[in-house]
């Protein structure tokens, strides 16, 4: 705020390239044509959005304690703030890998219990039992 950055963005009306914004907009199948003003406004709005998302997340996040903006601050914003909820899917909360693996295992077990009604051949217990009986 005190430092004057000569990056040029402050002087230009919009820094995001209109051509790239247009490509993204056109990737929507329902859109046929875009008026030049609408293109400009979308680009400008996106810049405002980036600023808003960054400052909001910084203000409400814990990264601030370390003078940083972290991914967690952003995913927190997506989850907590209604305005940013449309981002929840692309900014998921991070969990420990070990937790995730446990979740996968549990899902798998639940799936097997539901599917294998009649068969029990694949269960470990059965195998062990077979092994024991053969041995004795």
């Amino acid at each position: 705020m005190a430092t004057a950055r000569l990056s040029g963005t402050e002087n230009r009306l919009v820094s995001l390239p209109l051509s790239r914004i247009r490509v993204i907009m056109k990737s929507s199948p329902e859109v046929s044509s875009i008026n030049q003003d609408a293109l400009f406004l979308t680009a400008k709005a996106t810049e405002l959005f980036v600023q808003y998302l960054a400052t909001y997340s910084y203000k409400h996040g814990r990264g601030k304690e370390k003078n940083a903006l972290t991914y967690t601050d952003l995913s927190h914003t997506a989850e907590e703030c209604e305005t940013f909820q449309f981002l929840a899917d692309i900014l998921p909360k991070k969990i420990l890998a070990s937790k995730y693996l446990k979740m996968l295992e549990k899902e798998k077990r639940d799936g097997e219990v539901r599917e294998d009604d009649d068969e029990g051949e694949e269960e470990e217990d059965e195998d062990e039992a077979v092994g024991d009986s053969v041995g004795s």
């Binding site: 705020m1 005190a2 430092t3 950055r5 990056s7 963005t9 402050e10 009306l13 919009v14 820094s15 995001l16 390239p17 209109l18 051509s19 790239r20 914004i21 247009r22 490509v23 993204i24 907009m25 056109k26 929507s28 329902e30 046929s32 044509s33 875009i34 008026n35 030049q36 003003d37 609408a38 406004l41 979308t42 400008k44 709005a45 996106t46 810049e47 405002l48 959005f49 980036v50 600023q51 808003y52 998302l53 960054a54 400052t55 910084y58 990264g63 370390k66 003078n67 940083a68 903006l69 991914y71 601050d73 952003l74 995913s75 209604e82 305005t83 449309f86 981002l87 692309i90 900014l91």
Partner: protein, 143 residues
């Protein structure tokens, strides 16, 4: 993940600059955070476009116009953007008008054929012009 064309991403350098200018001096932005914001911005464009398009369709128009985008912002709960957007739009329109007039004067001296050609030409030209922020008059930018 399925193929993600890079074209749907916004340039990292610009995104980073915008973030840095918004935050207090000296705040670090993790690479992950930067990338996340960039993705969020792309999603924002898609969401805004879809929303704006709904307004256009309601008005039985095939072309998205400025009003549609502004209505979309309100609908998306970004009313705070509306006033600054309107302001910027005015400046933009004046700029475009100024450039257009400057071009007209220039063209008067040049071949008149050139002018007609640039109107009929396909939109590849339009893309190029847009990058340089040259005016497209009020023409519909359709593909």
């Amino acid at each position: 993940m399925a193929e993600r064309p890079e074209d749907l991403n916004l340039p990292n350098a610009v995104i980073t600059r915008i973030i840095k200018e918004a935050l207090p001096d000296g705040v670090n932005i993790s690479k992950e955070a930067r990338s996340a914001i960039s993705r969020a911005a792309s999603v924002f464009v898609l969401y805004a476009t879809s929303c704006a398009n709904n307004f256009a369709m309601k008005g039985k128009r095939k072309t998205l116009n400025a009003g549609d985008v502004l209505s979309a912002m309100e609908e998306m709960e970004f009313q705070r953007f509306v006033a600054p957007l309107k302001e910027s739009l005015e400046v933009y329109r004046r700029e475009q008008k100024g450039k257009k007039e400057a071009r007209k004067d220039k063209d008067k001296k040049a071949d008149s054929e050139e002018q007609d050609k640039s109107r009929e030409e396909d939109n590849d030209d339009d893309d190029e012009r847009m990058e340089e922020e040259e005016p497209n008059d009020e023409e519909e930018v359709d593909n």
